[in-house]
Amino acid sequence: MNKLSAYKGRPGSLALRIMVDLSAALTVLVLVALVGYILYKGIPNLHLDLFQWTYTTDNVSMMPAIINTLTITFCSLLVAVPFGVFSAVYLVEYAGRGNKLVKVIRLTTETLSGIPSIIYGLFGFLFFVVALGWSYSILAGIMTLAIMILPLIMRTTEEALKAVPDTYREGSFGLGAGKLRTVFKVVLPSAVPGILAGVILGVGRIVGETAALIYTAGTVTGVASSLLSSGRTLSVHMYALLSEGLYMDQAYATAVVLLIMVIIINAISSLVAKKVAGKAA
């Protein structure tokens, strides 16, 4: 593809090309090493026992954790996505451009995205678990995670909304459509792929989160029977297995399942994105 002769007399371009290729190779290498490591450590430890319906200290099943992960991921998105998207709509479509308040919101939300999750966990514990009296429950976990990914969803949605050409808005207004209709029928649909990218990042954070959940959703090993009962996600499960060094093997097996789950969730998301984008284009 890249004939070396094309770079004759252009050492700068050649150097850039090498850097680019190296960086891409390095990224792939890192991924291969990571995935290889997980598979190498985990696959030999994958047993059917790990997928029984109930957890005991003998089978160390991760099945309840898998179910809880799906529940918590879904419900957190259910809370965070509407709030995040609506906030972004307000910031981009309704608030005036020079609005100082908007700047403050943007700054603080962005800042929140760098706060370590243990702080969210402690906050969630004091606020949802204790003050609101929800005790250790996946609801407390869901709300904490929703707050945690809110800045992410808001930001990506904001960027996606800003990227929608003004001509669409003008076209819609020009037909006598109100702001609301313009936003829902023209602007938001065009922004869906961007919003979904934010959702994917959010899912990544939810699925990978531990600290914020330990203090809120708790670490009960069974399937949460209601929103107000406790349950652990796969990551928490893995963390719990690792922490005392007693179940290292099972923890690695969990990592494999976690990896597969991330792959599946990503694949579904990008499929949805394609579908929506395909409908628009």
Partner: protein, 286 residues
């Protein structure tokens, strides 16, 4: 009439949603500041920020080593992660064929989805021994953590930069080619500068991730609460300080840990403010 009512109602809903975000922000701030500020004032802000000793058993709380540790590690992560990330984003947006892209794109999404605890163990089992053999130290330390974080911020930087580069009008690229510039020069001298605001956003997000990362770092940095004297020496960051001791901390010790979180918050706020200022200045120049 019915319509205009709906308009008003929904505008209110949007406003309320935005307010909910603000309320969440405020709640967390209240929680952090409420717990952190009393400790800071008891310890003395200056002592707290500039003290080099962290001895909870003696009620001595100085977090300068952690501040320095956080800065070292974050800068290290940027030095390692940002160039690789941007080059890789350029590769994905402008150099690779559709086949390579099909492989690379999900791979990078996958990198983003791997929990940090897995990164941490990977670092502990794979990177630490390598560093140990190369440098003859214990293998844990600032450099190791920087490499790990450099890797962990890659997906963020690559994803956001790639879409920023893709968003640059094709006409810039064509204009450059038509002047006889090579493909590489066209990408790096026109597309990437034109995408700089998006790339800056990517870097900010990456910095946020790096400075806020806890679990993985705590496994491979050594966590010594001392002023680091080289990039190979062990160190403790603000986040690892919090997560490390929170489990047993009570009273003022606990508050001091949350106060560390407040300082972290202030740090990220300052970084974001600086970036905003730079952005606004460069926007004004245009």
């Amino acid at each position: 009439m019915n319509n205009s009512f709906k308009e008003k109602a929904m505008q209110l809903v949007f406003l309320l949603a935005a307010c909910a975000s603000i309320i969440a922000v405020i709640l967390i701030c209240v929680f952090m500041f409420g717990n952190g500020i009393p400790a800071m004032s008891k310890i003395g802000i200056v002592n707290f920020l500039t003290g080099t000793l962290w001895e909870p058993f003696a009620d001595v709380y100085g977090i300068l080593p952690m501040i320095v540790g956080s800065i070292y590690v974050t800068v290290g992560a940027i030095i390692i992660g940002v160039p690789v990330g941007i080059f890789c984003a350029a590769y994905m947006a402008r150099f690779c064929g559709p086949l390579q892209y099909k492989v690379l794109k999900p791979a990078i999404d996958l990198l983003a989805g791997i929990p940090s605890i897995v990164y941490g163990f990977f670092g502990l089992v794979v990177i630490v021994p390598i560093m140990k053999d190369i440098f003859g130290t214990s293998g844990k330390g600032i450099l190791t953590a920087s490499i790990m974080l450099g890797i962990m911020i890659l997906p963020t930087i690559i994803t956001v930069s790639e879409s920023a580069i893709r968003a640059v009008p094709e006409s810039y690229y064509e204009g450059s080619l038509a002047l006889g510039a090579t493909h590489e020069r066209s990408v790096f001298a026109t597309l990437i500068p034109a995408a700089k605001s998006g790339i800056t956003a990517a870097v900010i997000l990456g910095v946020g991730r790096a400075i806020g990362e806890t679990l993985a770092v705590s496994m491979i940095i050594g966590n010594q609460a001392i002023m680091p004297d080289s990039i190979l020496s062990g160190a403790r960051t603000m986040t690892t300080n919090i997560v490390l001791e929170m489990g047993y901390a009570t009273g003022i010790h606990r508050q001091a840990l949350i106060a560390t979180g407040v300082v972290l918050f202030a740090f990220i706020l300052i970084i974001n403010l600086l970036f905003t200022l730079i952005k606004e200045r460069s926007a004004r120049n245009e």
